[in-house]
Symmetry: C2
Subunit: 347 residues, 2 copies
């Protein structure tokens, strides 16, 4: 049983740095594309055997130290009654965005077993197939990030509708965030019951807010989720990832999580200097490095390991792996962490 | 002659804080939309009388303390030989992206008088129409940001091609950046000769890079531009704006500019704490505030002025004004700066 990742998340001394990659179950793998050719994206998410198959692929093919269940952060919104489509090239689309308090009547507090049971089934199948080789990570989006997509109706450059609502009717938006938070608690506890051994919260759009506004608008519903999950599933490591959040470091370090997952924009040593050495850091090689020469992948991975050696560290990319990545370069990254980190621990 | 903006940029003591807004000549104004109904976007850019007309509109209609010439940062790339289209809803498109050193042969060092003379003409017409009421700002994109669009073929979520090139062939990309820099120097000096009294460099995509990589990849060509313009147009204040650059603050404070224009994500007081009080700061009200109630616009503008009072300050938004903004809210912002700042200077 390789529980290196879980021990590192808990801040225990480990023999080497564990490594996995955000979006490691994805299009850069021909084996993933072969599965995807048989099923559209939502069908893949909702077919436990297929979701489990692609979840396990990078463990076998790339050698990562953790699996992360294949799913989409937006699935709970569909479970709450919002129609969700994935349009080729355009990403997720909510044809009927929720933009004011009156729209909240269209959403319901989902029964997660009835509506998201396929994710729990996928976790159970995956745990069986992993057979203890590596731990399995569950995940969810933060309420703020889910609201961002639901309010805009999809992705956006500026999230004007979301920000407009936040200034026009903060109380109304808070009701949406709280409703998403309630469902997210059930969803994450259901994931743990089904076999998830650690949980990552993805805050893709938290960085839109200043620290003051993030604390005021986005953090309360997120803290509610984290505290309820902590209480319902004690001992399960919690990881918070925010994209473009260099200005939120100190604020996010107040969250009740074991691990802060940081993007590639700031050196791990500087993050530690600002948030202290209590938190385990996850990250943060620029995923674009994997598009360059393998010698460079190795050199930059070594530099990242040295930079992160001042405290607990889970190696990862600073963002999801690009679909254009040559799998050999992903393997070079993973192998470099495994080969180089034993000598660099505490360097 | 209202030269308040220029004096504030130079760090002189001023009687009140000057104020203007990024994208102040734009779609939130019915008067702009009326002009735009007569001409497509590129035609508007290339017709000096029309460009001058929309440049002056916010001075008359909103009461800002500076005008900024109506143009697009991508025009110099078209002048260099890249075909540029503006597709309704999709923004700028370069149908033939430049993605490797071999593609550089398709670009030429543009003769800016022959290819961008319409911008110079627009500046001359605007200066005449302003008749000294407020100063006129010229601008350009940074070489890195222009390259971002040219390499991707338009805007992008992740700028994979650009980043890939930066790791695969740093020297080749540097040649592109240097070529853009040469044209940008001529273009900015031409703007000054035609009447621009201050120059802003827009680095929309600088924030994609870590500080180390920004210094290595993006900064050298930008510094070359700034130094050449400084030498060719001494006394003209230079302003650097980077979007999403909280992690680049210390690095960008090394640039030879008078003014750092910062987005809404970080309080001005914290920016000063990190970069010192030598630089004048420009910004940084969240443009989404203008979508909320006027009482909130006024309260948050006052808070921003108090926060920025520890040194030289030019009031602005932290990003371009949203097209959905009610002009009355823009006027409330400008009026609040004028009304409140005299008492708050040095508060």
């Amino acid at each position: 049983m390789n529980d290196l990742f879980l021990r590192a998340c808990r801040g225990e001394a480990v023999e080497r740095t564990p490594v996995w990659m955000m979006r490691q179950a994805g299009r850069y793998l021909a084996e993933y594309r072969a599965v995807r050719a048989k099923a559209d994206f939502l069908t893949l998410c909702k077919t436990p055997e297929l979701a489990a198959e692609v979840t396990v692929q990078p463990v076998d093919l790339v050698g990562v130290d953790a699996a992360i269940i294949f799913a989409d952060i937006l699935l709970p919104l569909e479970a709450m009654g919002a129609e969700l489509r994935f349009v080729q090239g355009d990403g997720p689309v909510f044809p009927d965005p929720v933009r004011r308090a009156e729209d909240l009547g269209r959403l319901r507090r989902a029964d997660v077993d009835a509506t998201l049971g396929y994710v729990f089934d996928a976790l159970r199948v995956t745990r069986r197939e992993l057979a203890g080789r590596v731990p399995l990570i569950g995940f969810a989006g933060t309420p703020w990030t889910l609201a961002a997509y639901l309010v805009e109706g999809g992705t956006s450059k500026q999230f004007t509708h979301l920000l407009e609502w936040s200034y026009r009717d903060a109380a109304g938006l808070r009701r949406l965030l709280d409703l998403i938070a309630e469902v997210t608690v059930d969803y994450l506890l259901g994931q743990v019951a089904a076999g998830a051994q650690a949980l990552q919260l993805f805050d893709t759009w938290g960085g839109l807010l200043s620290a003051e506004r993030w604390r005021e608008v986005a953090a309360p519903s997120l803290v509610r989720v984290l505290e309820a999950v902590r209480q319902g599933a004690p001992g399960v490591p919690l990881i918070y990832y925010v994209h473009g959040g260099a200005h939120l470091l100190e604020a996010s370090a107040e969250l009740p999580v074991e691990v802060l997952s940081v993007d590639w924009r700031m050196p791990l040593s500087e993050v530690r200097r600002r948030v202290g050495t209590q938190r385990v850091l996850q990250g943060n090689l620029d995923p674009a490095v994997l598009l360059g020469p393998i010698a460079d992948v190795e050199a930059r991975t070594e530099a990242m390991l040295r930079d992160g050696a001042g405290g607990g560290h889970v190696a990862n990319l600073g963002h999801g792996i690009f679909k254009q990545t040559d799998p050999d370069h992903a393997r070079a990254f993973v192998a470099a962490v495994k080969r180089l980190s034993p000598a660099l621990r505490g360097a």
